[in-house]
């Protein structure tokens, strides 16, 4: 067992956060690019094909020029797994804030974080309670960033359904995509949290967006097909592909409750995981 000082921890977490953001903002995960390429291959409508073509060109250009894929570089949501020999101290969250501030200058990222009521911009993508950091125990010290854009976040929804409304879960999810229409930059990915408490359902929905999208279970596939039948298409201009994938996470809930949260993700489903090196 080695001892880890707060200074080491701060520096290691800051470096990992900066590196993960630099990767996530300029390079889309392979499973997401593959899903977009498959959508382009299957699309027949000329406008939808042009939209998907522009998206694929944009992904290649961002990769080549090391520029952000989207100008909404999002707000960073951070997930850390902490092995037993690493102390859980405030240096971890401080390191994240430092890494986010440095990445804001190095990528560069758009300064998106403002004070909610005064709307004053911090310029660093950090603010009171931001970025959001989730820490869970794990075997290895890993850090994942999920930069989340506002277009898709703003049309996400939560419902506290009645226990008698289990059959309405699917309807609520599809209706969320319907009401969102072209606003969240489709083709979208739906992260769904079912059960838990009000807050837990929303967290599960966000966490579901970390899952690879190259496979779905029967329930997820069914909802994905439903959303694609709506014909909203890339950017809401019509077409076969509205939804690339649906990922569902569940938790136990109160016998009198049925929370359902749907977190919508735009096609720029940016996420990157790096090892934190001490």
């Amino acid at each position: 067992m080695h001892t880890v000082t707060d200074t080491h921890l701060f520096r290691a977490v800051s470096d990992a956060t900066k590196k993960a953001l630099e990767i996530a903002e300029t390079h889309l995960p392979e499973d997401v690019t593959a899903a977009l390429e498959a959508a382009y291959a299957s699309e027949e409508e000329p406008i939808a094909r042009a939209e998907l073509g522009a998206i694929l060109d944009n992904i290649a250009l961002a990769e080549e020029t090391k520029r952000p894929i989207c100008q909404d570089t999002g707000v960073p949501v951070i997930f850390i797994t902490l092995p037993p020999d690493i102390p859980y101290t405030p240096a971890i969250e401080e390191g994240v804030r430092d890494g986010v501030t440095r990445a804001t200058a190095s990528v560069p990222l758009r300064p998106n974080v403002v004070s909610p009521m005064t709307r004053a911009n911090s310029g660093t993508n950090c603010g009171e309670g931001m970025p959001v950091v989730h820490i869970t125990p794990g075997d290895t010290f890993m850090l994942t960033v999920l930069p989340k854009g506002a277009g898709s976040e703003n049309v996400s929804r939560i419902a506290m359904l009645l226990p008698s409304q289990v059959d309405n879960v699917r309807r609520f999810i599809v209706e969320t995509a319907l009401e969102a229409g072209g606003r969240p930059c489709p083709p979208i990915i739906l992260g769904v949290g079912i059960g838990g408490t009000f807050d837990r359902a929303a967290f599960l929905a966000k966490e579901a967006l970390l899952e690879p999208i190259d496979e779905m279970d029967t329930f997820e596939q069914q909802i994905c097909d439903d959303v694609n039948h709506l014909g909203i298409g890339p950017m809401g201009l019509g077409g076969r592909t509205t939804c690339l994938a649906v990922k569902v996470k569940q938790a136990g809930c109160h016998t009198a409750s049925l929370p359902v949260a749907v977190n919508i993700q735009c096609w720029a489903a940016r996420r990157a995981t790096v090892r934190v090196i001490l």
């Binding site: 998206i55 944009n58 277009g151 209706e175 229409g181 072209g182 950017m235 019509g238």
Partner: protein
């Protein structure tokens, strides 16, 4: 076939139909929520006659456009009338705008859709030419950007046709069939 447009725009935009593919060359001015409010209060920092307003909060570094894709236009639905009254001929953004805006466009302006999220692609076709209202912060300031053949789709034309509206109406009907009340 792609139609080539250049700013300042005139009556040629009245010939466009929803669904047409176009490219736009010349100056555009970015404006989001805060910039609309500021221009309503203080007037235009640019000549609005024949102008193109781009719903965009770019990432700019010095003189370089790093990323500049479109933002969600619907947020500006209620803030759009004064732009069109002043002679603005096109609004560029993503996701389309309301039925009220479609009415306001009638006979004078069009809405052009640029592929949401395509910031690197957009940046490769743009140069920074000026900025106003920098105190609003980088995304909310008004940036003068010079475009070189930016590829766009006519989402809403000057004759009451709305591609987004048609798609949304079909989606509503499909949903009602899938999940009858």
């Amino acid at each position: 076939m792609t139609i080539e447009l250049a700013t300042p725009l005139g009556d040629e935009i009245l010939d466009l139909k929803a669904g047409d593919r176009v490219t736009l060359t010349g100056m555009v001015y970015t404006a989001r929520d805060e910039a609309h409010l500021r221009m309503q209060e203080e007037g235009f920092p640019f000549d609005p006659e024949g102008a193109a307003v781009y719903h965009c909060g770019p990432v700019i570094s010095g003189e370089t456009v790093i990323a500049a894709g479109p933002t969600t236009s619907a947020r500006m639905n209620a803030l759009t009338g004064f732009l069109l009254d002043a002679g603005v001929r096109t609004l560029i953004g993503k996701g389309g705008m309301s039925a009220d805006v479609l009415g306001l466009l009638e006979g004078r302006a069009v809405y052009l859709a640029f592929t949401g999220g395509c910031a690197a692609l957009a940046a490769s076709r743009m140069k920074v030419r000026g900025v106003w209202f920098e105190d609003l912060g980088m995304p909310e300031a008004v940036w003068a950007l010079e475009l070189d053949h930016l590829p766009l789709t006519v989402g809403m034309d000057a004759h009451g046709h709305n591609l987004f509206g048609d798609v949304a109406a079909r989606a509503e009907a499909e949903f009602a069939q899938m999940f009858p009340k």
